[in-house]
């Protein structure tokens, strides 16, 4: 029989880095960046500091493995900084985390990611992470290289030095030099990641430089550090038997009833009575945990699962909020229109969850009308960029009938169009399909909750689309009159061999008839604009805004749009009256001129409104 050996956690991950996001050179760069930024963001939020993060990605040479470059990834934050003793633990030890199993909506959870990045750097470039750290109480900053001691799963700080770090009061800078390749755009691109992070973190100021591109600075649009809700205890219905027993070992010798009440949420004295009513021997409740046999645990567990308990509290989830999301979305570019929805926290599979959705169409992004929408998925405010097909968010989008909101959609697929769909899921207990946290497991309840949020956002979006289609309809109708009217009349005159006088009379008659139709189209447009305005006012009221004061957000853009449309319609009506008078008076101009005039007037009015806005 061969000898059975025991491996350290670090050894396991060193051999299985693909499980935590290092499955290709492309993903290695993105995962390293992501883990560093996640840590910085979490640290800032824990310390209630408004985050300012600087990211730089450089190609510094050739990688040691085939077809790779040596990529330097630097992330610097203004967080509280790490004490010298913690540097090795944080960057060099697996499962050393301040957040593990805490029941908080933090980005990082287990303490694997950043140590895995250090391991990857060590494996591919023979050097771990270079770190600079300074806390408010330190006079000078400390720098050094952290390596993972793979045999013992512990971090080692080498070349420790102290240094003056500009005027920086506190923060951490970490640099990794790894084998990798850089992809900027597309689903797995660095820009997609950074933009996603910016979108769901309105309080973040981000400065980044990617390869040879210029530095880009995106300022924060909110000065509120998210209020991280207090950690919540787990709900017993989310546990499996093994977890239940392991959880009990954290509580030492206390009695079973105390363990149930203090180790879980929603277990009250009444619940204990209910357990007894369901057949739990009373004597067992007063026994210390250490005296319980495995079969006792099984019985307790089964009865607890079988008993109705109050749903868990939803206080442990945090939201970005519609207001902040509306402002944040503008940081990604100028929008044609957008709609945002923040659902109330809900319970799915006994876990508190909140879903937020932002759907937007941007003016200057190269998104194609016949391509699927660009999907940005977030879990606890971290972008998910791979394996979208199995994700609960993707399933929910595909289950919605987007055609009813004015978008085209092949059956059972993502809708098409130049839109960005951003869906954020926040929960202290998100169930991922894999350790690299790329796909959210799709339970029926969760998909339904996301679907509802999407439908709400879709309804709002459809108002914009309807208004736009009415505008297009009006323009099309005006163009039709101009284009086809004269051809129809001239052909009829030729077939009947009629005189010029008849031709003129027919042209005038045609103008009158089609003028009535375009008037109807204008009224339709007016109605669509009024409905959209009403929706905007309702939303502003709900969020406690006076729509007139809301100058910074897109709301004002929308209001302006509505004013613009109303002005256009007024201009159109005026133009129609003028045209009618002119036609009555002279009857000389061709049938095409009034429509051309109308369109010109429409465009002029639009331009005018645009200039005013500026």
């Amino acid at each position: 029989m061969s000898k059975i050996t025991k491996s350290s956690t670090a050894e396991y991950f060193a051999k299985n880095l693909q499980q935590v996001g290092f499955s290709s050179p492309l993903k290695a760069v993105l995962t390293t960046l992501k883990e560093a930024v996640d840590n910085s963001m979490d640290a800032c939020e824990q310390a209630e500091i408004l985050p300012e993060i600087e990211v730089q990605i450089q190609r510094v040479g050739q990688g040691s493995s085939k077809n790779t470059d040596l990529i330097k990834i630097s992330v610097e934050d203004n967080g509280p900084g790490l004490e010298v003793d913690d540097l090795a633990k944080v960057f060099g030890e697996y499962l050393a985390s301040s957040k593990f199993g805490k029941g908080q909506c933090s980005r990082g959870q287990q303490g694997i990611g950043i140590s895995a990045a250090t391991t990857w750097a060590q494996l591919t470039n023979a050097k771990g992470a270079f770190v600079i750290s300074k806390t408010a109480s330190m006079r000078k900053a400390v720098s050094g290289q952290v390596d993972v001691d793979i045999k013992t799963n512990s971090g080692v700080l080498k070349n420790k030095q102290t240094l003056d770090w500009d005027d920086k009061k506190h923060g951490v800078r970490v640099e990794f030099a790894i084998d990798g390749r850089v992809q900027l755009n597309g689903d797995g691109g660095l820009i997609t990641y950074l933009e996603g992070t910016v979108l769901v973190n309105p309080h973040l100021t981000l400065k980044y430089k990617l390869l040879d591109n210029d530095w880009v600075t995106i300022e924060r649009v909110s000065n509120d550090v998210p209020d991280i809700p207090v950690a919540t205890l787990p709900h017993p219905h989310t546990f499996k038997l093994g977890e239940f027993i392991t959880h009990s070992t954290l509580y030492g010798k206390i009695t079973l009833d105390k363990f149930l009440k203090t180790g879980f949420s929603r277990v009250s004295d009444q619940s204990l009575k209910d357990f007894v009513a369901k057949g739990l021997p009373k004597a067992l409740l007063s026994k210390p945990l250490t005296a319980l046999r495995p079969e006792d645990f099984k019985k307790v567990f089964q009865i607890v699962q079988d008993t109705d308990l109050m749903a868990p509290s939803t206080k442990s989830v945090l939201t970005v909020g519609e207001d902040a999301l509306s402002k944040s979305i503008q940081r990604l570019g100028e929008t044609d229109f957008f709609s945002v929805v923040t659902r109330k926290p809900a319970i799915c599979d006994f876990k508190p969850v909140v879903v937020e959705v932002a759907l937007a169409r941007f003016k200057h992004r190269n998104l194609e009308a016949d391509e699927p929408v660009q999907l940005l998925r977030f879990a606890n405010r971290v972008p998910l960029q791979f394996d979208k097909s199995g994700c609960a968010i993707t399933w929910a989008i595909e289950s919605v009938n987007w055609k009813s909101y004015g978008l085209s959609q092949p059956k059972g697929s993502l809708p098409l169009g130049p839109y960005i769909f951003a869906i954020s899921l926040v929960s202290p207990f998100i169930k991922f399909k894999n350790a690299s946290k790329e796909t959210i497991d799709a339970s029926e309840e969760l998909v339904e909750e996301i679907r509802r949020a999407l439908m709400q956002a879709g309804q709002k979006l459809s108002r914009h689309i309807k208004k736009e289609s009415k505008e297009a309809d009006l323009e099309r109708k005006l163009a039709h009159i101009e284009q086809f009217g004269p051809i129809l009349v001239e052909s009829l005159v030729r077939i009947t061999d009629s005189s010029d006088a008849r031709k003129k009379r027919a042209e005038e008659g045609l103008r009158k008839l089609l003028g009535r139709d375009s008037k109807d189209a204008m009224e339709d447009l007016e109605q669509a604009a009024i409905k959209l305005a009403a929706q905007k006012t309702r939303e502003a009221k709900r969020r406690g805004h006076d729509p007139d004061d809301d100058t910074a957000s897109s709301e004002s853009e929308e209001e302006n749009d509505i004013i613009e449309v109303t002005e256009v319609m007024k201009e159109n009506k005026k133009a129609a009256r003028t045209t009618k008078k002119a036609a009555d008076k002279a009857g000389k101009k061709s049938a095409s001129s009034p429509a051309a005039k109308k369109i010109a007037t429409t465009n002029a009015a639009k331009k005018k409104a645009g200039t005013k806005k500026k």
Binding site: K477, H480, I481, Q483, F484, G485, P486, I487, L488, V489, S491, L492, V493, R494, I495, T496, S498, R502, R505, A506, E508, G509, L510, K512, L513, L514, D517, S518, A521
Partner: protein
Amino acid sequence: MAKLISVRELKIDIPKEAQILAERMLSDLEKSKRPVLEAVKTSLDNSFYNPKVGYLTPGDKRVRTELNVSSVQKLARVVFMLEILLRNLDIGAVNTKRELYYICKGLIKNDAKLRPLDFEDQVESDTIVDFIGDMLQVYREELNCFANDRGGQTYSQQLVVTETMADGEKATIDLSTLGTAPFQPKNKPQSLRLKARKKIDFCLVIESEGTANTLQSMGFTKRNNCILMGAQGVPSNAVRGWCKLIEEELAPPMYFFGDLDAYTLQNIFRTLKAGSAASLIRNSHFSAPEVRFLGVLPEDVKKYDLPFYKVRESDPAEARALKKAKDALENDPFFLDKKNKGLSDILRWLMKEKIRCEQQSLFSVDPKDPIKMEKIILEKIRNGSYV
């Protein structure tokens, strides 16, 4: 130039009717009244079927196209195309639908004012030509517009066709003297008379032209006193008119042999036997009500152990055919008529079993026997195994 052969004796004067129509439209416009164009509604909900008549006939429903900003494009196109057709009638010119499409393209290209009328593809211009026919209640052929010849390749050792040309000259075509070449009816009116040198036992129309050719190569018409024809899919007006002529002049038993699937039954066989909803005003001249469905029948699949396939509902065309079959059973007067119960039973069977069986499957019954298909067809005719 000799006068063109006509399909029927036309009771209306097309140019005069068109003039009246244009005059009415112009006069409406002068009064700021919306001109309206009306045509027979060519759809199933305006189709009637009487087995004694034998083909689908139109009801009273009409489609009205009133001038408004949405319809102005269609009306302008109708009047534009009408002008071209009237000119053709005036000078005795004929064109195919495709030629008309390119004539329009040419005119539009050379006149910037006409550019908005431009057709994106031929389907758009075909629709306008058909609308004009339905509006004036005349056949497309009567507007001097003919489709390309397609299908109807016919073989026989007994059939003799006498054609009277437009100038009165006569031509006699003895199909037994054509060697390996078939006789093919034209997709334009022809004046044909038929004679049989010997009594013709049956006329067999095969859905696939290729399979008809194979049977002929194996000597089918040498061994049988018959007419053998390839339909080449959905029968064209030429095939439909040709079958009708054979039926009227020679009255042989008429059989159709094709795939066992919903598409063949509804789109190919129903059109051959009773016409279609799209051609409601033409069905009286373009349908052969006596033709029977020889197969493939559901019982043949079992009897001859024919290979069959599952209908792939993921395939949009097949899924559409199944949906159409369901619609046909609910709304098609042809399949609703109890005289055609045998056919609607096949449709129901197809929908239930969700399988299809190709006409060519007969070749696999005994691959070593090159005339096995012929034997099965003859056996089926002998045993009355048809619907």
